[in-house]
Symmetry: C2
Subunit: 328 residues, 2 copies
């Protein structure tokens, strides 16, 4: 029998999750749940329904895992604990400072309901976190570096769009290759914010807008751009549609550690992602961990979990014998 998945929220991430389910023979999409008018939504899975979120009040027997694709600012802190009281759930909550509180809320709800609630799953937090933990556990005398990009930052793109005279923007975060190389060499450099990443903005300005003022507003924007070397390019709407429609991303976690007499030996561990589609990759991670949520719950486990708490074997549809034979 298939693992029956529900998707709550159908933006880029929801569509990425839907795409991942199609690649998973042991899973089926039951329904997409939306706060919009369900009749207004066209999804890519013929066999699945589009339903109003209110239907989630009574579908406990139809859904094995609910993948919650909402925003971390306001959606997930409310939704994930709420639905963990009825369903195995998973989210990609990424507001770092609030993870302890979110974990506690989901843990209470899920334990009470006898369900699993996986939080903060994706690639960062997610696969990058795993690689930081594995590396520091193996080499306790070491240091980790995370570089992001080259990739589109939705938050930074939105910040530029709010500037007067800006019609559209795509912002790329780009690691400074010379700094990445320094880290790879094992030299443990001290790097400032400016040393690690540059930012590149492609902006469509409104007719007659003051481009110099826009460029200045971007480059001096606190938190988002002021601490970085930023490049601004003005382009046409046609160029935006033609050259910047994708959502690539990626980055690397590099850990350097020392061992041996007088710490004479250096080891470098690098985990690197190069992703054509951030939401499709994140959706694929969520679906692999949804399988884990289902299987762990079947074994009687409950409560909030993160990628740290989940044995890798739970992610694979193959048996223990098969993974030992083919992947060990």
């Amino acid at each position: 029998m298939s693992i029956r998945i529900g998707i709550l929220g159908y933006g880029n991430l929801g569509r990425g999750v839907e795409s991942a389910i199609k690649q998973s023979e042991d899973m089926e999409l039951v329904a997409v749940f939306t706060r919009r008018d369900p009749s207004s939504l066209k999804i890519n899975t013929e066999s699945a329904k589009v339903l109003s979120t209110s239907e989630l009040d009574h579908m406990e027997n139809d859904i094995d895992v609910l993948v919650i694709c909402g925003g971390s600012a306001t959606d997930l802190p409310e939704m994930t604990p709420k639905y963990a009281a009825k369903y195995n759930v998973i989210d990609s909550f990424d507001t770092h400072a609030k993870i302890p509180e979110h974990f506690k809320n989901v843990d209470d709800a899920a334990k009470n309901a006898g369900k699993i609630g996986i939080i903060s799953c994706g690639w960062d937090p997610g696969m990058f976190s795993l690689n930081r933990l594995y590396a520091m556990s193996i080499l306790p005398e070491g240091k980790d570096y995370t570089f992001w990009g080259k990739g589109v930052s939705q938050g930074h793109s939105d910040a530029v769009r709010r500037i007067d005279g800006v019609k559209d923007c795509r912002q790329y975060t780009i690691p400074v290759e010379a700094s990445v190389e320094k880290v790879r060499s094992g030299s443990n450099p001290e790097l400032t914010t400016r040393d690690k990443h540059v930012r590149e903005c492609f902006v469509v300005a409104e007719d007659g807008a003051d481009k110099a003022a826009i460029e200045n507003a971007i480059k001096t924007m606190p938190n988002y751009f002021a601490d970085y070397d930023t490049t601004v390019h003005f382009i046409t709407e046609e160029e935006m549609a033609r050259d910047h429609s994708g959502l690539p991303h990626g980055g690397s976690v590099i850990y350097t550690g020392k061992t041996g007499d007088n710490n004479k030996n250096t080891h470098v561990i690098e985990y690197k992602l190069t992703l054509d589609s951030n939401p499709e990759f994140t959706g694929s991670v969520l679906i692999a961990y949804s399988r884990a949520a289902y299987r762990m719950n079947k074994e009687g486990m409950k409560g909030a979990k993160t990628v740290f708490d989940i044995a890798p074997a739970y992610l694979s549809p193959l048996s223990g014998d098969e993974i030992r034979a083919h992947y060990l």
Copy 2:
């Protein structure tokens, strides 16, 4: 209270494990066990004993985890099940075809004794296996490539040493960078054995030996060298001692997977190790997983395990709250 470790076997790997214990504040080395005369062995930990393996018959109350540092050909198939009947154990068994049988033997012994037996732990099998499994679980439509090196292969070095007229040899396995780049590009190339790695031998010949004959014997040796492009350099004993005393190794697991409509999006996941000391890194992995063995057994788990079966949180000495706060 510290986790009390015993090391069985004191070659390069045993010393690497000893070195890793010194970096772990929650662990102490109780004793090194040897089949040699214990009085002949000088170890690097003053507080630890050197004992004969026969003492393991009665030290169940003194050792929490026994790290078995023996060879995969004959030592581990016998030792690991034997000691799993009394101790939590861990080994780095790497004879791939015999893993199912070894797993079964250790599982039977460990379950019967209520102990944990972790097998095939290190970096390959070990961390590389984990990365293959995570990647294929996230992106089911993909392909994995493993490259080894640049690093010293002990097996190949030994094979050359057995040739007539050879006094010493160090063999380096080196990935073909052009092939690594092809894989990184996401083009999913078909690669032969010769495409993936080259082999480089540094040989000290005996006085008056026929160097042309040695070089020919190396390059035509079946399994070890015949399928590779191999370079042979003759050097002096002084050069060997000066330039080739280390045991560096490493390599990378590169996985390329597709997602989206018509699989239009490509993702590349790369995990890369660059290790100054293969035995010290492997020893560090064994010690992190020894911590897991101890903690899982404390929670009542038993039987054979591999890296696939172990939730990452068990590897860290930090609490769940701490790792969520600092590494997620």
